[in-house]
């Protein structure tokens, strides 16, 4: 038996050693963050697709963070953006930064009101389980896949079935399930007004509650960054209020404003004043072609970048170099 145990131990050591090598695959965002944190960065810009999406008519296709960098060239900005990033993954990034030796002075975090909707919050592929695990347990990075294969970590916290059965609300009224609202089309000409109305309901008309898990993540971000001396700069991303109001007259703006107010109140209770850009951009500067979303054209991205630059200058007394 002793002989067996010795050989088993050798076998396990070899497998673990090889696993350390073959299993070490880290998403590019985390690799870039690791590299940046080994030096000095001033500002970390976390963002979803609203940072890099552009209009086909744009002559300037730079992302919002690149525009911001050009407005404040003296500050070094690291951007970590990815489609569907949200408060949960931002929290994992902030915790990770909190544990690292080098930290940025400021972290810019967008609050996308769409991200609290069931169509985003509950979407199975937008949970970033792997990224959150790799950030929360950096020492186990090589072992994520084995742990997932043996169900020690979940890679599908929300099943497609649960997602499809999630209730959709319009204000406080349940109007169906996600399955009935989450349709896709690739042809802008085939989209009807009713479909756009349904998309607006799914994405923005939910009644936001203070106990929403993404709001809890947001407040945890505040606490985490406060505890390590990093300034958070939250901004509420611009929404296409005109389109929403056109399809849900008298209701859309009221609902969105109520939800935005809740977010602002919660942050103010923690001494954080968010930058509210939710109603700052006209419909013409959104770049969506099929269903409404928060993607901006070059004017919109530039506007956001300038607003952020101003907020950064205001917060730390930076003067804009002429």
């Amino acid at each position: 038996m002793r002989n067996f145990l010795k050989r088993l131990l050798v076998f396990l050591i070899i497998v673990a050693g090889l696993q350390l090598i073959v299993g070490h695959k880290v998403p590019s965002e985390i690799r870039r963050l690791d590299k940046a944190l080994s030096g000095k960065i001033d500002i970390l810009f976390l963002c979803d697709s609203t940072n890099f999406a552009y209009s086909l008519q744009d002559t300037d296709k730079r992302s919002g963070s690149q525009m911001l960098q050009s407005v404040i060239p003296e500050r070094q900005i690291l951007t970590l953006d990815h489609g569907a990033f949200n408060m949960d993954i931002y929290l994992a990034f902030c915790r990770y930064i909190g544990r690292s030796r080098n930290k940025p002075d400021t972290i810019i975090i967008p609050i996308n009101m769409h991200s609290f909707s069931p169509g985003w919050d509950q979407r199975p592929n937008w949970q970033f389980e792997q990224e959150r695990f790799l950030l929360d347990y950096p020492l186990l990075r090589s072992f994520f896949k084995p742990l997932a294969v043996f169900k020690a970590v979940s890679t599908n916290e929300i099943s497609p079935d649960r997602y499809n059965r999630t209730k959709v609300y319009c204000d406080d009224e349940p109007v169906g399930t996600v399955q009935e609202f989450d349709f896709q089309s690739t042809d802008p000409n085939s989209v009807t007004d009713e479909q756009i109305r349904k998309k607006c309901i799914l994405q923005y008309m939910y009644p936001l509650r203070p106990d929403h898990r993404k709001l809890r993540s947001m407040l945890e971000i505040v606490a985490t960054l406060n505890s390590v001396g990093v300034k958070p700069l939250f901004y509420i991303v611009p929404l296409d209020m005109e389109t929403g109001e056109k399809h849900l007259p008298g209701r859309f703006c009221r609902r969105v404003r109520t939800n935005v107010e809740l977010v602002k109140t919660l942050l103010r209770n923690h001494n954080v004043e968010p930058l509210d850009l939710s109603q700052s951009i006209a419909a013409a500067h959104f770049s969506w072609t099929i269903y409404p979303n928060e993607h901006l054209d070059q004017y919109g991205r530039s506007f956001v970048a300038n607003c952020l630059a101003k907020a950064l200058r205001d917060s730390d007394g930076l003067s804009r170099p002429e």
Partner: protein
């Protein structure tokens, strides 16, 4: 507790270490406790069902042994059959028959409103029910002495490696092994571990990968062409094989580590040359159960032709029903019964035809043709097994001929692969793994795959172990895909 879960990765070594550390007289208690714990990880309340089966069969067998009256013996056997099959019927089949009856009554002016039973199917109920039934039947037939040690008998009913998905063991082989003292033997333990690794590889790397395509296609079959449905069905043939034989390998391997030899459950079924041959190689423990306790008592082949045909059809339909309470399984069983009868009726004719075509001079080629035809017939039947309903199955069959011509243009294949809803890489990995499996099975022949490994020299053997484990860890599918046969 799934075999491919971290809980089992912790549970099994702990049980094995305790097993070899304890004196022999306490081992049954350890294994019984571990088996009950293993089962209770799903739904603790359902342990009561196992305890009822255990108690009824233990007492029935002892009572049978005490009396010489054949009538009383038969009475005790009936008690055991009624209790076990009654539980199985209530939990597995009641709602199915109730619903079928309700639909039937809609055609008549009869009010029928027997409510549904709101119960979950207890995992593995068909397996342990059949295992414990084989005990009372064997005692009734006088081939098995009743087990007087309640703990050992309870362990026979609930032994954790094969509790929820077999192999369905016979009392004559398992009970003596549970009584016997097994020492730690290096060769046996490593052979058991080899089987566990191979079983895990088949389950998490092959079966679960193929399941990604199969589940996607079969969840909405009306959206797919015949080419896609055919591909998914062939994938399912290998998925269900790797899933179930993988489970069996892990079960046999786990038992072997502790010194218990379980029966082989699969013998390269897709190399079968006829449907009869397929059933000698597929789920052997169940096929032989039906043969010994249903087919032969019905008269087997020693009866008139019409009766023989009825016997065969009855056995296959019951076998189908054993798999699940759904018309799809019943028709699947019926189809296999028809395959079997037609195969038997045309045996001579096919032999003559092969001789006239000159195939007898090319035995390998002839064999290949037979294997291919058998495989296609089995795959066709798998449509019924996998489809969510009979209407889905019929719709799939009606669409099988569509979408093939599109494959000739370059974009057609791309469109087909995209329609599966998984990355192309995953699809091709699935195809490659099927090839690897077929190659390995061809290589090891009728022997166990572990014997193939023992023929290699140590460095090469270690290299294979390491590669297999690394593939399980890194190519395994993380999505939670339960073992298919757990639902039975």
């Amino acid at each position: 507790m799934l075999f491919n879960s971290w809980q089992f990765v912790v549970f099994f070594p702990v049980v094995v270490c305790l097993y070899f550390s304890l004196p022999h007289r306490f081992r049954w208690a350890l294994l019984l406790g571990a088996s009950y714990f293993f089962y209770m990880c799903w739904k603790p309340a359902y342990l009561v069902l196992i305890l009822i089966s255990t108690l009824v069969d233990y007492c029935s067998a002892l009572a049978m042994a005490k009396t010489s009256s054949q009538l009383k013996r038969k009475g005790y056997l009936m008690l055991s059959l009624c209790a076990n099959l009654g539980l199985l019927f209530s939990f597995k089949y009641f709602n199915f028959f109730n619903e079928s009856l309700r639909q039937l009554m809609q055609h008549f002016p009869i009010s029928y409103d027997v409510p549904r039973l709101n119960v979950l199917l207890p995992v593995g109920i068909s397996f342990y029910t059949f295992q414990t039934l084989s005990y009372t039947i064997e005692v009734y037939r006088g081939r098995q002495k009743p087990e007087r040690h309640f703990g050992i008998f309870a362990l026979y009913v609930s032994y954790f490696p094969q509790l929820v998905a077999g192999p369905i063991e016979r009392p004559g082989t398992l009970l003596p092994q549970l009584r016997h003292e097994h020492h730690f033997e290096y060769g046996r333990v490593t052979e058991g571990l080899r089987l566990i690794i191979w079983g895990l590889f088949k389950k998490v790397v092959i079966a679960d990968r193929l399941a990604l395509v199969v589940d996607n296609v079969y969840s909405q079959p009306d959206r797919f062409t015949g080419a896609a449905l055919t591909t998914a069905t062939v994938f399912f043939a290998f998925q269900v094989y790797c899933d179930f034989s993988g489970y069996s390998d892990i079960a046999i391997g786990a038992a072997k580590v502790m010194g218990h030899r379980l029966m082989r459950n699969f013998d390269r079924p897709y190399f079968a040359t006829s449907i009869a041959d397929f059933w000698r190689r597929w789920h052997i423990s169940l096929s032989s159960w039906f043969r010994d306790y249903l087919y032969i008592p019905l008269g087997g082949s020693h009866v008139r032709v019409r009766r023989f045909c009825l016997n065969v059809i009855a056995v296959f339909i019951i076998s189908g029903l054993w798999h699940g309470a759904n018309w799809t399984f019943i028709v699947w069983g019926l189809l296999h019964g028809l395959y079997y009868l037609i195969g038997r009726a045309t045996r001579n004719l096919r032999g003559t035809l092969a001789g006239r075509l000159g195939l007898s001079g090319y035995p390998r080629f002839h064999r290949l043709i037979k294997v291919t035809i058998t495989f296609l017939l089995v795959c066709f039947a798998w449509i019924l097994f996998r489809a969510n309903s009979l209407s889905d199955a019929l719709m799939i069959v009606s669409r099988l001929g569509t979408g093939w011509t599109e494959l000739w243009n370059p974009s057609g294949l791309g469109a087909l692969l995209t329609s599966f809803g998984v990355p192309e890489k995953e699809f091709w990995q699935g195809v490659l793994l099927i090839g690897v499996l077929a190659f390995v099975e061809r290589l090891h022949g009728p022997k166990q795959v572990t014997e193939l490994l023992t023929r290699l020299n140590r460095p090469l053997r270690w290299l294979v172990y390491i590669l297999l484990v690394l593939m399980i860890l890194n190519l395994g599918v993380a999505k939670r895909i339960p073992f298919i046969y757990f639902q039975f």
